[in-house]
């Protein structure tokens, strides 16, 4: 499950997990879970954020984070794990540079420039409507601040299919 399947109609509704600021790669995917086996790597996802993870994750879930999501290490095994667990998108106030590239290379939608950590609570639903350029919660609508271009969405689609297969 990846961008191509979630955002086929350019809109996706998923359950959110709300994280804080400065969620580092060491928290997203602690080094002890490093593995070349995607299934094993997937078992470490968000373990450093919440030891109960990743058991409650479901395909289509959306990560909502604050500033500087994915800061620190470049090791992209966390992107493999996110793809494997079916994380549909990351919505964050800001995203660290290497993380932006890694998510794009794995076809995971990352939207920057909006801090919804005070607006949403874990378990609530969020609709990301790329066609309308907005995100919708139960009682509010937010414009997507830096809407991805059609070319970029196509890149995500291709990358998500390629990484999903390999």
């Amino acid at each position: 499950m990846s961008f191509a399947s979630f955002f086929g109609p350019l809109s996706h509704t998923g359950r959110v997990w709300v994280f804080g600021h400065h969620v580092s790669v060491d928290a997203i995917h602690p080094a002890r879970f490093f593995s070349l086996d995607p299934e094993r790597a997937a078992q470490g996802l968000f373990q450093g954020v919440d030891p109960a993870m990743p058991e409650p994750l479901r395909p289509g879930d959306v990560v909502v984070a604050g500033r500087n999501f994915g800061c620190g290490s470049s090791r992209e095994v966390y992107a493999v794990a996110m793809l494997r667990q079916g994380i549909a998108a990351v919505v964050a106030a800001s995203i660290a540079r290497i993380c932006q590239r890694n998510l794009a290379n794995h076809g995971i939608l990352a939207l920057e420039g909006l801090d919804l950590t005070d607006q949403l609570r874990s378990g609530e639903q969020l609709t990301i409507d790329l066609a309308a350029g907005q995100m919708r919660g139960a009682s509010a609508v937010w414009p997507i601040p830096q809407p991805p271009t059609a070319d970029f969405l196509e890149l995500l689609r291709v990358n998500s299919l390629r990484k999903g297969q390999s």
Partner: protein
């Protein structure tokens, strides 16, 4: 003479035309680095797409994270890289040092060069005036196969260094001062560009500053090459590398001036490198471990300072003091100068060149609840071991002084 930023000048020279900030350009990579913690993840893509190495001379493959491997799983992962190198006749830096130190020792790294590495601390090579940045494995594989990668011309922040620091105030303290001012997300996707006006920082200290530029979110940290750079390159290569024609500084989104003469030792408290305190605020904090090493501080200057502070004394009982040189070259020189003997005689242990406990790998992981003073670059929760462990980041001078007392201690007056 043109006006602009160092990153803009380097990328424009590569592109053969003047580039504007924000422009995306595909550039040829002068040196590409991958290591045992990141390279093996790319083998699946390399095999699936039938890719080959574009230019083996411009590839640096390093075994340093699992150096040597402490678990069978890591040995299995590392073996994939060793086998790949052997099969394709590629040079392999097998346990000869931390990849970022090896970049500084590599003849292809110098002013104006574009250096990419599958590791966030590749920025370290900016200490020699290169545009050096970290990428993930997928980007690494792209550059491996084509010799090129797209890069965005970053906005840039100018940081001017003035004067000379106290002998016990090192590059690490400058890096922490930059973090104190910018915060750990203050420079996302920006280029930090350092102008050491009075040559106050040694080349080793500059490497520590460039190394931690990524902790502000920066894409790169570039030192404007000067006499210090050229002397380092002359000693490294036997000749000064040809410098590029640098622009007059301009087009910066912000500027900071740091007066080194007034800079004091700093410490980043748990659990973020941007959580910077004055040493006085955390002095007296009891420690279970002191780690001197990593790609931030495993260089000759760091070992010299450590040896000078420890010489003829004993580290505190019950405090694990671990020193790990950054490379074999550094270790051999430190042995020749007697630093290693001084450090060992003081009761510290010296391990082989490697990443060590930084990044939760081996040779000194922290138990639940333990507190470590480390010269490395990150102190996120669980970064060096158990989730409840705590890491304070400081310079090798502060670390060595603290190893003697067992509590965080001001190093000034000890050098």
């Amino acid at each position: 003479m043109s006006v602009g930023t160092l990153a803009g000048a380097i990328l424009s020279a590569k592109a053969g035309r003047a580039l504007a900030t924000g422009e995306v350009v595909e550039v040829a990579v002068d040196l590409l680095m991958g290591h045992d913690g990141t390279f093996p993840l790319g083998l699946k893509d390399i095999a699936a797409q039938g890719l080959t190495v574009h230019d083996p001379r411009r590839l640096l493959l390093v075994c340093d994270h699992f150096s040597p491997a402490a678990t069978v799983e890591r040995a299995d992962i590392q073996k994939l890289q060793i086998d790949f190198a052997r099969r394709h006749g590629l040079a392999l830096a097998l346990f000869t040092g931390i990849c970022h130190q090896l970049l500084l020792e590599h003849p292809l790294v110098g002013p104006g060069r574009v250096v990419l590495g599958a590791d966030s601390h590749t920025v370290t090579a900016g200490a020699l005036g290169a545009l050096a940045t970290g990428v993930g494995t997928t980007d690494f594989v792209q550059a491996l196969a084509t010799g090129r990668l797209w890069l965005k011309v970053p906005r840039a922040i100018r940081i001017v260094l003035q004067g000379q620091a106290d002998p016990a105030v090192l590059g690490k303290d400058v890096a922490l001062e930059v973090l104190r001012r910018l915060g750990s997300d203050g420079a996302i996707y920006a280029s930090l560009e350092f102008f050491d006006q009075d040559g106050g920082l040694s080349q080793d200290s500059r490497a520590a500053v460039a190394n931690m530029s990524v902790e502000t979110g920066a894409k790169c940290g570039i030192f404007r090459p000067d006499a210090v750079t050229h002397e380092f390159l002359r000693q490294r290569d036997g000749q000064a590398l040809e410098d590029v024609s640098w622009p007059q500084p301009g087009g910066y989104v912000a500027e900071e001036v740091i007066d080194l003469t007034r800079l004091e030792p700093l410490v980043a408290a748990p659990h973020d490198p941007g959580n910077v305190r004055s040493l006085a605020e955390v002095a007296g904090q009891p420690l279970d471990q002191v780690f001197i090493g990593s790609c931030t501080a495993g260089r000759l200057e760091d070992l010299r300072v450590t040896a000078q502070i420890l010489r003829g004394r004993q580290v505190a009982p019950y405090v694990k003091t671990i020193v790990i040189p950054g490379s074999r070259t550094v270790l051999l020189e430190a042995m020749a100068r007697g630093y290693v003997q001084d450090i060992l005689a003081a009761g510290a242990t010296v391990a082989n060149p490697s990443c060590g406990p930084c990044c939760n790998i081996d040779k000194g992981l922290l138990a639940e609840g333990e507190v470590c003073l480390s010269t490395s670059n990150r102190n996120f929760p669980g970064r060096m071991g158990a989730r409840s462990s705590q890491v304070f980041l400081a310079s090798p001078a502060t670390a060595a002084a603290s190893a003697l007392t067992g509590v965080i201690t001001d190093p000034r007056g000890r050098l």
